[in-house]
Every structure is written in C-alpha cells, then in structure tokens.
C-alpha cells in the first residue's frame, strides 16, 4: 500500500504539490491523472525518495522509501523510460539492476522474455532503441526484483496497440495477485479501462479521488431534446445548473429523474435521457481540472 499524507513540495516559492493525500491500495490499480505540470511526476518522485518533501510524508506499507533496505525488491519503479545510459546494452542495463538487488543473472533473461525483447535487441545499446523498446526495458527493470508495489509514470507511452494491451493485462494480473499499482497516464482511455481507483490532481492539489465507479457516476446526467435551449432554460428555472454542449446535448449534475420531471413540466420532449457516466473519464477529467487547464477549456 502506498500512503501519501499532506504532501507539499515547493521550488523556490512555487508550490508544485500542495497538501496532497491519497492511498493506493493492494490488489487494485490506482490511476493518477492530471494535466501537464499538475504535480504528478513531482509526487511520484517524492514517493520513491528522489525528491525530498517540503512537508508531509509518503510511505510504502508504512515505511519511507529511503528506509527500505533493498527498495528494488519491494517497489518496482519506472519514472522515465528514456533515463538510461545510452551507451549501455539493454541486457547490461538489467544486469546491473539485478546485481544491485542481489538477484541471480538468470532473472535478466526471464525479464527480457517477459517484455518480448529478443536476445538480439537486448545486445544492442539503448541509444538505438525506439521509445517502445525503452518502455519495455523500463518495465522489465521495474519487475526484475519481483516487487509487490509498482509505480509507473506514463508506461504506455510509445507502445504499439499490442504493447498497450499486453501492458494492461500485465498490470491487471499483477493487481489481481495482490500487488499495488500506482500508474500515471495522459491516455485517459487506458486509465479508464485499467484503473480501479482514480486520483485526479490539478494545480498541485487533489481535485478528486475515489473508485472509478464513484467518480464516473458523479458526472451527472446527459439529456437531448429537439429544443436544447429551452430545456437548459427550464432546468435553470428549476434551480438545476446545466451546460449546453455544442452537439445539442444538455448536461447537468442533477440525476436523470429530476431532469425528466423538469422536461415533463415544461412540456419539452426528450430524445435522450441517461446517466452521463457513459460520457466517460475525459469529460470528468476536463471538468475537474478546468480551473487548472492551460487551454482554459471547460466541459
């Protein structure tokens, strides 16, 4: 279990992470979402002890990462697949990590096979690797020590569709056997498919966290009508704030039964009325982080 408590990190007066608290539980995949510069990477760096927190704490099963006697055996970390010595071969990169953790050399070949890097590819220097191959190498390094916690920053980046499917199965399987997975990604579809729990960060602060079902259910109602403006107006009069989307749909936080009642009272025929959870993670993400989005988009 990963526990982050009241974590704050400031850089020369700029607060990158502000009073962040969340947990990633065993047996579940926790998706960590946020716009660029929201503080995702800083948070993950503090968790793995690369950056010291200004205040607050981050622990793995109650122990600070830096206090783990042999961290590689307990926590698999992949923060940046490109952060490898370009002049070293893929195999040697893993061999060094295995030696550091005190693992037998045979483990390296096992991991190379697991991530589908061929022996010929493993003999090449990392300089010549594609991003997808570096990503596979990084995942191999993270899994090398047979950890019970995985912390991955954008692991699907650069993977081909088959690779993304493979990664998804791997992480689901890992969590299914009691492992803890904390995963950050911009690929919302990936997160939506794989994550059990979600933590959304914006402007250095947690803007939402909970199970995926809870968060997506909270996204409200979507209604369509031949007269969307009148519907929105009727909802407004009934005290239900709503937004009129460009495609003619009306969204509101109220639940569908309320919207149906308002439409009936106003004499507006609805062509569609449903819970907006189908609208998915992207809308939720954009509305939750609207205040901190660079583009200023609002859902």
């Amino acid at each position: 279990m990963i526990t982050v408590e009241s974590l704050t990190r400031t850089y020369a007066g700029v607060t990158a992470v502000d009073d962040v608290s969340f947990t990633a539980r065993p047996g579940r995949v926790t998706g960590f979402l946020g716009p660029n510069g929201a503080g995702k990477s800083t948070t993950l760096r503090v968790v793995v002890g690369l950056t010291a927190p200004t205040s607050g704490s981050a622990t793995i099963d109650g122990v600070r990462f830096a206090d783990l006697p042999n961290p590689g055996r307990e926590v698999g970390v992949l923060l940046d697949a490109s952060a490898q010595h370009a002049g070293r071969t893929g195999r040697e990169t893993l061999a060094i990590a295995a030696a550091t953790m005190g693992l037998p050399g045979s483990r390296v070949a096992e991991m190379l096979e697991l991530v589908s890097l061929t022996p010929a590819e493993a003999r090449r220097r990392v300089r010549h690797y594609s991003l997808g191959m570096r990503q596979r190498l990084g995942i191999a390094a993270a899994l090398l020590g047979d950890p019970r916690v995985l912390i991955l920053d954008e692991p699907a980046n650069g993977l081909d569709p088959a690779g993304i499917r493979w990664m998804r199965d791997l992480l689901t399987d890992f969590a299914g056997r009691g492992g803890t997975v904390l995963l950050s990604s911009h690929l919302l579809h990936e997160i939506e498919v794989i994550a059990d729990d979600l933590v959304v960060i914006g402007g250095g602060r947690i803007v939402a966290s909970g199970t995926k079902e809870e968060l997506l259910a909270a996204a409200g109602t979507l209604a369509r009508s031949a007269a969307p403006r009148e519907l929105a107006h009727a909802l407004e009069l009934a005290g239900l704030p709503s937004t009129l989307a460009g495609d003619g749909s009306v969204r509101t936080d109220a639940d569908p039964s309320q919207v149906g009642a308002v439409a009936l009272a106003a004499g507006i025929a609805l062509t569609e009325l449903r819970s907006a959870e189908g609208a998915g993670l992207e809308d939720m993400f954009l509305s939750l982080t609207a205040a901190t989005q660079r583009e200023g988009v609002a859902a």
Partner: protein, 273 residues
C-alpha cells in the same frame, strides 16, 4: 518495435507477494563492484579502457624505437606510459559521476539505492581501485618494456625509479583522478566537467606562471595553492620534506577537500531529472 508478439503473462509474470519479506540491505562491497562494472560496460568506458592499454603499449614501443640508448631506462618508460594515463584516468573518474546526470541513469541508480552518499562513496572507492590497478599495470608494462628495450639496444637495464618515488607517482595520479572526481561531483555534467578538468590542469598552470612573472610575491605562495605544482612534485618523486607534504595537503584541501564537501552537499539535494 520488431517484437510484436504478445507474451501471455499468466505463467511467467512475477508474483506479487503481499506482506513483508525479509530483505537484505544492499552491501557496500556489492555497490563498489557494480560501480566498477558501470565504468567500463558503456561504449565510452570501453574505449577509455582500450585507450589506456593501447597507449601504454604504444608509449613503450615509442621509447624503444625513438629514445637514445642512454635514455632506455625504467624512468623513461614509466614517464611515457604515465603521461597518457594521467589524462585518461581523471576522465574515467569524471564520467563515473557525471554520467548518472548527463545520461540520466541516476534515476534508476538512486531509486535502487536511495542513499546518494553511499553511491558516491562506492564510486570514489571504485575510482581508487581503478587508479591503483592501472598504475600497477603501468609499472608492469614499463618493466617489460625496459627489459625488452635494453636488450634490443644492447645496454644495461637501468632501474632508476626508486622505491620511494613509486608511491609518489601513484599518489600523483590519484590526485589527478580526485580532481576529476571532484569536478564531476560539483558540476554533474560530463562536458562541463571534462572542459573544467582541462582548464584547471592545462590552462591554469600557464596563467599562474604568468602571475608569478609579473608579481614576484606570488612565487612563494604558488606551491601552497597550485595543485599542478604539487602534482608535478609527486610525479618527480620530489615531495620529501614536511613543508612539501604540507604544501600538498594545502593544495589538496583547496582543490579537492573544500569543493568536494560543497559538491556533496548540493548533490544530495539536487534533482535527478
């Protein structure tokens, strides 16, 4: 990506074992061995190592072919082999530290061992080992060259490096490596540290000599603050009196001790990007 097959993960995937396992801490000796390996398992490390070997043999050959008969002595061989080595060894020391930042491998290194002082300490010990082993090799190659050279030239084999001078030559090389290591710790960037090394080892002596020409009082001060001066004394086996050792201690404190302390403090806090 040529590997497009999707490996089923159910059988070969590592098990996520809940609960704590007894984990043994990473031993310091293991760290030193790993840092030694990391110095030479990269393309640059490999060629630096090859460079040392090739240059040692070339230098030996050059003395045999070019030196006049009366100069075919052990000192000539030791000097000829030692010169390229005194340039390459500090490069190895520099890269062992800076590659973690310039090549970004530190992201992995410092998460596997989240104690930077331990990693840097292991690098320092590995640097020391490399220095001692390569000096031993240099003396050995020089000895073979001296035997072969004197036999070929038909002169008596002259062993003119005293037992007292040899440790000083080794120490002189270790000083050079320590300067490189220090620059690596302070600058944490390969290019900057290598340029920095050539500035303090090639440019600075000329500047200080010039300073001594125009300001006479500086001549008395120079041995106390110019690390090149004290290093040359070591290479010549001429550091004998207590004052000369004090001068060496002074330049070492100024160029290695002080910057190393400052560098280590900033290194421990620095971001590994």
């Amino acid at each position: 990506m040529s590997a497009t097959t999707v490996t089923p993960t159910t059988t070969t995937a590592p098990g996520a074992v809940p609960g704590r396992r007894p984990a043994r801490p990473v031993a310091t000796r293991r760290l030193v061995v790993i840092e030694l390996r990391k110095m030479f398992d990269t393309r640059s490390g490999f060629w630096l190592l090859v460079g040392i070997g090739v240059l040692a043999v070339l230098a030996t050959g050059a003395v045999i072919v070019l030196a006049p008969d009366d100069a075919v002595t052990y000192d000539s061989f030791a000097t000829a082999i030692g010169l390229p080595m005194s340039v390459i060894l500090p490069m190895i020391a520099i890269l062992s530290v800076t590659s973690e930042w310039s090549q970004r491998s530190g992201l992995t290194t410092f998460t596997l061992v989240p104690h930077r002082s331990r990693v840097i300490g292991a690098k320092a010990l590995a640097t020391l080992v490399v220095g001692l082993v390569s000096m031993a090799l240099a003396f050995a190659v020089g000895a073979v060259g001296n035997l072969a050279g004197s036999a070929l030239a038909g002169v008596d084999t002259v062993w003119d490096v005293s037992l007292a001078a040899a440790p000083q030559i080794v120490l002189g090389n270790l000083v050079g490596m320590a300067i490189g290591f220090t620059l690596g710790v302070v600058l944490r960037a390969s290019a900057a540290a290598i340029v920095g090394y050539f500035v303090v080892s090639l440019v600075m002596p000329g500047v200080l000599e010039l300073l001594g020409l125009v300001r006479e009082w500086f001549l008395d001060l120079q041995p106390w603050i110019d690390w090149n001066y004290t290093q040359v004394q070591l290479f010549e086996g001429a550091t004998d009196t207590a004052e000369e050792w004090a001068m060496l201690a002074s330049t070492t404190a100024l160029w290695i001790g002080l910057p190393l302390v400052i560098g280590l403090v900033t290194l421990r806090r620095s971001e590994v990007k």
